[in-house]
């Protein structure tokens, strides 16, 4: 087959990223130019949103540590899932070459560990939001 169109996708990706970025900024600038400046420039307009009361200066919001815990668990499980990809893609080949059982069992062990971790998290209520 002609490899031309297949090509290296990298150039395309970079081109597209740059193109969209430029396109987006142009639109913003365009909107700025067309939208213009209004004369009303009061403080209230330039404040951030605050349910109709004066803005509270302190921005020390209490954020639940759950968010960051979720992110950590996400990383770990994400990697475990990523490890399954090369397995999934080669599984049929392994079966073909007669090593299916070994690869299957090794992945089962891996998944068993994974499930253990998952159920530990569920049991320890780390994944519970209230």
């Amino acid at each position: 087959m002609n490899t031309v169109a297949a090509g290296m996708p990298l150039g395309g990706v970079i081109f597209m990223t740059i193109f969209i970025a430029i396109f987006g900024y142009i639109l913003i600038i365009l909107a700025r130019l067309i939208g213009g400046r209004r004369t009303n420039n009061s403080q209230v307009k330039r404040d951030i949103y605050e349910c109709g009361i004066p803005v509270q200066e302190k921005r020390e919001t209490k954020v639940s540590v759950k968010f960051y815990l979720t992110a950590i668990l996400f990383i770990l499980f994400d990697i475990e899932i990523i490890f399954m990809y090369p397995w999934a893609i080669t599984f049929k080949d392994f079966i073909g070459s007669g090593q299916g059982a070994f690869v299957f069992v090794s992945m089962l062990v891996f998944i068993a560990v994974f499930i253990y971790g998952l159920f530990w998290e569920i049991k320890s209520k780390a994944l519970e939001w209230d």
């Binding site: 007669g98 299916g100 059982a101 070994f102 069992v105």
Partner: protein
């Protein structure tokens, strides 16, 4: 299904059972954990059945299933794979291990029902089955050694299962340490064989084995096999390393049935049979094996006559029967050895389980002087025990007859054997009949001597099912190896076992054609000897219970010597263990205190002083540490580059 998966299931299923039970050992219910453990072994049994069925389907010369999972280690030319193979020999073994094993697991559910550590118990049992399978299936001596050590460990753990009792813990340790002596010899044997053949793979070694016999005592193969045999004496309780087995009866009775009768103790025999092409070319080793085997058979049987503990009697009986197996392999009758191994596994496991049933019924009482007349309380146990009894004393057509007869005949007939060995074997057989009948009489027959506080009862169904199955096996188990002479006269019954094993067993060199008349005569002699001594025992212990005591009193010194087990334990303590301990104590008092401790004090003082100086560097500043690492790398790099 492909073989690698089946093999993986066969091996891993007990391991998974071990992990499940081992991890959740705190929730003990005997039914659950025992169910898991039994299922695990039963799965193994099913997959081994499938594997063996496949094996039978193959042509006779190519019967072999070889599975290699991964490379375990590789050092230069020394390569060991985690590979396992099933041939005709190991096929028998895996069937026995997983089959008898699952029956014993089933029995244990009932037997250990009230024990606190029941989950732990089943975890150990499963671990044992796993290790035993590795031992049996391993395709190299090193893989086998892993299982060899593993079963030793499990045996230790299970003998000392009730470790809060000091004596039982000590029995476990005794077993472990005695086994270590044998294991060291096994290792040495491995070294010698590796130096000779450059491989530890069993099949390769068997293929490389020379065809001519090695006459010298110091030849490599003779030396290697001798070392291996010493290893086998440790594991299989032969003279001089048999002392641990009777003590091992401290463990739970199903353990004694599984480990110390049916499977682990036969590992030595199995190892020799598996390496038979090597052993057959070392006639000196064979001679040693045969003599030790025969001596052990008689020696242990004589001790068995004087014991009062039901399990001890069975234990010495096991040692004695193992002696027969070694006698068989020693005279080159490897097939007969395997045959006896198999039948022995059936009837001895049966008898141990039966004794477990009795002990269970008697509320942990093991002394046969306090039993008697149990026949009417425990009909099933009695019936199955009866089958075991007739099997072991060699009454035709029960299992033990065929195997024992073949051993005796081969020890007479084989060029490696001699009439003297046959005489020893026959005496042993008579003694076996005597003490077994004695056990039978004192336990089940005669009048009851059961204390008033004990109410014997039949065991629950869970425990009697294995007994019944094993009882049937003890009856029919011998029919797979009906000797040619009998089979010929009854029609055309083939010796199935011999045909099965034939491709993997090296024939005995210079074996002459058997004379049928001679064989019939010897068979008659041994059977009648056994029958006569059984009748004598019956007479002594049922008809006139006072006679044995009189005889014992008339030969008091000899009786005492025998009932104290020939003072072998004391001998070992006096000559080996105590001097070792005393010498070590002196060494400690002199060298350790005066030199080694001093040196360490000086070193520690130096380190402490130096540490005081270097301590200033530990500021807790992470970046400073990183900087020091960086500087170190820079220096190292510049040395490398400037060089």
């Amino acid at each position: 299904m492909d073989h690698s998966l089946l093999m993986a299931i066969l091996l891993l299923s007990p391991l998974v059972g071990f992990l499940i039970n081992g991890i959740r050992y705190k929730n003990p219910t005997a039914n659950l954990s025992g169910g898991i453990a039994t299922a695990a072994v039963a799965i193994s049994f099913i997959s081994s059945l499938i594997l063996v069925a496949d094996l039978i389907g193959m042509p006779a010369e190519a019967r072999k299933i070889h599975v290699s999972f991964f490379q375990w280690m590789a050092v230069d030319s020394f390569k060991i794979n985690a590979a396992f193979y099933i041939d005709q020999i190991s096929a028998i073994m895996i069937l026995v291990i997983t089959g008898v094993g699952s029956l014993i697991h089933l029995f244990s559910i009932g037997y250990m029902h009230h024990d606190k550590g029941v989950t732990k118990y089943f975890a150990y049992l499963n671990l044992f089955v796993f290790n035993m399978l590795i031992l049996v299936l391993g395709d190299s001596l090193l893989t086998m050694f892993v299982g060899w050590e593993g079963v030793g460990l499990c045996s230790y753990l299970l003998i000392g299962f009730w470790f809060s009792d000091k004596e039982k813990a000590a029995a476990g340790m005794k077993a472990f340490i005695t086994n270590r002596v044998g294991d060291a010899a096994f290792l040495l044997g491995m070294f010698v064989l590796f130096a000779t053949f450059g491989t530890l793979n069993i099949q390769e070694m068997n293929a490389l084995a020379p065809t001519t016999a090695e006459a010298s005592w110091l030849g490599a193969i003779t030396l290697g096999t001798l070392f291996l045999f010493i290893g086998a004496t440790g594991k299989s309780a032969q003279i001089p390393l048999y002392v641990w087995l009777p003590d091992a009866m401290a463990g739970p009775t199903p353990v004694s049935a599984l480990i110390h009768a049916a499977t682990m103790v036969t590992a030595g025999v199995y190892m020799i049979v598996r390496l038979n092409p090597l052993f057959i070319v070392a006639p000196n080793t064979m001679m040693v094996i045969a003599i030790i085997g025969a001596l052990t058979a008689v020696f242990a049987a004589s001790i068995g006559i004087t014991q009062w503990d039901i399990k001890k009697v069975l234990a010495y009986s096991t040692v004695s029967q193992l002696g027969y197996m070694f006698l068989a392999v020693g005279v080159g009758a490897f097939g007969a050895g395997m045959f006896h191994l198999m039948t022995h596994a059936f009837f001895k496991a049966l008898m141990f389980l039966g004794s477990g049933s009795v002990i269970h019924a008697m509320h942990e009482e093991q002394d046969i002087r306090k039993m008697g007349g149990l026949k009417k309380y425990m009909p099933i146990t009695h019936m199955t025990f009866f089958f075991g009894w007739v099997a072991i004393i060699g009454i035709p057509p029960f299992a033990g007859f065929f195997s024992k007869d073949e051993i005796l005949w081969m020890s007479f007939h084989s060029p490696l054997g001699s009439p003297a060995l046959w005489v020893l074997g026959a005496i042993g057989a008579a003694m076996t009949a005597f003490y077994m009948t004695r056990l039978m009489c004192l336990t089940f027959w005669g009048k009851s001597r059961v204390p008033k506080s004990v109410h014997p009862h039949e065991s629950p169904t869970l425990m009697t099912i294995p007994l019944i199955v094993l009882g049937i096996l003890s009856v029919v188990g011998g029919w797979v190896g009906i000797p040619e002479v009998i089979g010929h006269s009854l029609g055309d019954i083939p010796n199935l076992l011999e045909h099965w094993l034939h491709p993997v067993i090296k024939p005995i060199p210079n074996l002459t054609e058997a004379e049928h008349s001679m064989e019939w005569m010897l068979m008659g002699v041994s059977v009648s000897l056994a029958t006569i001594s059984a009748f004598i025992a019956y007479h002594f212990y049922v008809k006139s219970p006072e006679t044995p005591e009189k005889i014992a009193n008339s030969i008091k010194p000899l009786y005492n010597l025998i009932s104290k087990k020939y003072l072998v334990d004391e001998l070992y303590f006096g000559t080996i263990i105590n001097p070792l301990i005393n010498g070590s104590k002196r060494l400690w008092m002199f060298i350790d205190v005066n030199f080694i401790d001093k040196i360490t004090y000086v070193i520690s003082d130096l380190v402490r002083g130096g540490g005081g100086v270097v301590r200033a560097l530990q500021t807790g500043n992470l970046q400073q540490y990183a900087m020091l690492i960086g500087i170190g790398i820079v220096i190292a790099l510049s040395i490398i580059i400037m060089r």
